[in-house]
């Protein structure tokens, strides 16, 4: 009996210790992964405060005299605000338009599926597998003929089309989580289809819609291929601002890092502010 009494706490203590260790190990692993992912960004920010010769030093310098030379040079050579404004307009515009088209599409597929729904969804997603360069010339010609080259409207249209498959997929998954009974109850109370979407579905799926919108916004902000190929100066977003500081001849790491830091700062701040909603939305339905 005494043995039994004395055994139980030992077992509990042991299991508690194992649990604590596992918890601690997971915590350390989490920190390591986070640091590994954040390291390139931290290094870029650090490099942006170095002089060009310090930026290329081997071995790399951790201690150096910080300077704002890179930022001053970037500011003197390019109109950051114009590029940033274009980024905001095309990213928000592309995302809003994608959501506008995707909500009815996802609603129809989630609540009124046919036997072709699954196939349609897969087909939509398959368009993402085509390398963009494969359609560069047709799109370029189309844009030229429609007068959309170097326009914000053109880039918004491209971003909408680019993100539409992912946005529809994510919204479809979120909408599937909404109980059909609620929508049916609404219908019984006389709600038509528009009311059903507007007053019942959208409020219920708002976390999912918000996280989808945020993801689409980030994808638009970071997109480089189309923005570099379809814009020149009037509608050029921050990706082109960054590209203009890469040089085939001469030292440019500090200036490029300063330009990149300035370009990613707004979207990083937005990401930090909304990270709770983003994670909640993503774990709510899409990653199930």
């Amino acid at each position: 009996m005494a043995t039994v009494i004395s055994d139980t706490p030992v077992k509990l203590r042991a299991s508690g210790t194992v649990g604590e260790r596992a918890h601690w190990a997971v915590g350390v692993l989490g920190w390591l992964v986070a640091l590994a992912m954040f390291f390139p960004i931290a290094w870029m920010v650090l490099t942006s405060f170095k002089s060009e010769t310090d930026a290329i030093a081997t071995p790399p310098l951790l201690l150096f005299h910080p300077t704002l030379e890179g930022y001053a040079e970037v500011q003197s050579r390019a109109n950051y605000l114009l590029f940033a404004l274009n980024s905001v307009i095309v990213s928000v515009g592309g995302t809003a338009l994608a959501l506008l088209f995707a909500v009815p599409a996802a609603y129809s597929m989630a609540f009124h599926p046919t036997r072709r729904t699954r196939g349609t969804l897969l087909w939509m997603l398959s368009t993402k597998m085509l390398p963009p360069v494969g359609v560069l010339i047709p799109i370029y010609l189309l844009f030229r003929n429609l007068g959309l080259l170097d326009t914000r409207i053109g880039l918004i249209a491209i971003y909408m089309l680019m993100n539409l498959p992912i946005v529809v997929w994510m919204l479809y998954t979120f909408f599937k989580e909404v109980p059909k009974d609620i929508l049916e109850a609404g219908r019984m109370d006389g709600a038509n289809q528009r009311d059903e979407i507007r007053h019942l579905l959208l409020p219920l799926a708002m976390p999912g819609i918000a996280s989808t919108g945020l993801l689409s916004l980030i994808l638009c902000w970071n997109e480089a291929f189309w923005s570099l190929n379809l814009t020149s100066h009037a509608a050029a977003p921050l990706t082109q601002f960054i590209a203009s500081f890469s040089s085939p001849e001469g030292l440019f790491f500090s200036k490029l890092s300063a330009a990149s830091t300035m370009a990613i700062a707004p979207i990083m701040v937005l990401g930090w502010i909304s990270q709770k909603q983003l994670v909640r939305g993503l774990t709510f339905g899409a990653v199930k």
Partner: protein, 449 residues
């Protein structure tokens, strides 16, 4: 005439009068506030181009009817962007920054405007090899902004320490021996830095020059590829040998900028590359070895006097431009003697665009601040881009082959050459594979049968 018809007639006259008045007022307003013509210039982010962008206010002040918009892109992105635009006649750009590789090919396709500057521009003052490389059938299609050839850079302190003297005309064999003697890997000093990054304008620029010196070329008569030949084997043997024994680690990642950074931070004993590096290595703000840099011509091999290296960044006007007059005005301004003087006045003579005008090299003020000037001029004068190789060749170009397919071919062969450095392929495998791939491409292009 009925009352209705009279009213309709009066209405018609009133509307026509209003419309005419409207059109007239719009025309007057347009005349009073004539909008300046906007021209868009596509360029790369090189030091000289940045200077041009900064000094362009002077052009806008002198030409208030012309407004300049700049699109600055990384070299490869710019090439892709500009090629797409010009091939589709989209007309997004009025001035293009192109090289002497593109200029004759695009001129032949009718994509570029012929440029005929006035007498004040003094076309004869342009260095002949540079002018010729930007011409097609005797007409100039792009004006040179700056030009470069290749030369050998070496560390005078390391040579002195090892008791070596750089000959006035070194051979590749001598360079190999020097590299072995000055390599000190334990102190991070590598005897030789060379371009190893795969690409037609990267490792293949140097390698093509090396092959020519070893008595080889890319194609023989009828565009028969001549890669799997003794000259290429000899060149590859030298290249692999020196980089493996005396080169920095990870040489296949090193292009111009990486080697510039290595040399400028004291890690290279020698470096054979573009003459444009001279000014950068001499600049104490960018180089820790500014007072220890020596210059020599590119080494020679068994075949001398053949093509070496000539590259020029030039400004051209595409036929798709909607403001050709304004564009040509800018192009001639940015490549004129007056512009060279403006740069010298603003940033000093050492910053003057190099490799384009004889008058720059005749200027004592330039020679005083650029001790490398005579090396650069000699290198360009002897670059011989249209010259003969050891065996007859059906193409022109110094460190490249002047055919549209070369971008693809050069990059593919560059990858196999890089693979010999990493140990992925033997020299035999690499050259055999490069030979068959190149032959296939020129056959598909209809150049060879």
């Amino acid at each position: 005439m009925s009352v209705k018809a009279s009213i309709a007639s009066i209405h018609g006259r009133v509307i026509r009068a209003c419309l005419l008045a409207g059109v007239a007022s719009v025309s007057l307003a347009a005349g009073a506030n004539a909008e300046p013509v906007s021209i868009t210039i596509a360029t790369v982010n090189n030091g000289d181009m940045v200077t041009m962008q900064k000094l362009s206010d002077a052009f806008e002040k002198a030409n208030p009817d012309i407004k300049l918009n700049w699109v600055v892109l990384e070299e490869n992105t710019l090439r892709q962007r500009v090629t797409t635009d010009i091939a589709t006649h989209a007309g997004q750009f009025d001035v293009l920054t192109i090289g002497n590789y593109e200029a004759p090919i695009w001129a032949q396709r009718g994509w570029l405007e012929k440029i005929t500057p006035d007498a004040a521009y003094d076309t004869d003052d342009l260095l002949k090899p540079v002018r010729d490389s930007l011409s097609y059938k005797g007409a100039i299609y792009a004006l040179p902004f700056y030009a470069e050839s290749a030369m050998t850079y070496y560390r005078t302190d390391l040579f002195k320490k090892a008791g070596l003297t750089m000959p006035t005309a070194p051979t590749y064999e001598q360079i190999r021996q020097f590299a072995d003697k000055i390599t000190d890997k334990s102190n991070g000093v590598y005897g030789m830095c060379l371009r190893g990054k795969p690409g037609w304008g990267e490792n293949m620029a140097f390698f093509t020059m090396l092959v020519t010196a070893m008595g080889g070329q890319w194609f023989g008569d009828g565009y028969h590829a001549t890669i799997d030949t003794p000259a290429w084997h000899k060149a590859l043997d030298w290249y692999d040998g020196i980089l493996k024994a005396d080169g920095p680690p990870g040489a296949t990642s090193n292009g111009f900028n990486e080697n510039l950074a290595l040399f400028a931070s004291g890690h290279c004993g020698m470096w054979i590359d573009s003459t444009v590096a001279a000014g950068l290595l001499y600049d104490k703000k960018q180089s820790t070895v500014a007072d220890k840099v020596g210059f020599a011509p590119v080494p020679t091999g068994s075949y001398t006097g053949g093509p070496t290296w000539l590259w020029s960044w030039a400004l051209a006007v595409p036929v798709s431009s909607t403001h050709k007059g304004a564009a040509e005005k800018f192009v001639t301004w940015a490549t004129s003697k007056a512009y060279v003087d403006l740069v010298a006045k603003t940033n000093g003579w050492v910053s003057a665009p190099a490799g384009t005008r004889q008058s720059t090299y005749a200027n004592p003020q330039y020679k005083a601040v650029a001790p490398f000037a005579s090396f650069v001029l000699d290198a360009i004068d002897n670059s011989n881009p249209n010259g003969k190789t050891a065996q007859p060749r059906p193409y022109v170009g110094a460190q490249f082959v002047g055919i549209p397919e070369f971008q693809g071919i050069g990059t593919q062969v560059g990858q196999t050459i890089a693979a010999t450095l990493t140990g992925g392929l033997s020299a035999d495998q690499a050259l055999k594979s490069a030979q068959s791939a190149t032959q296939r491409t020129v056959r598909q292009a209809g150049l060879a049968h």
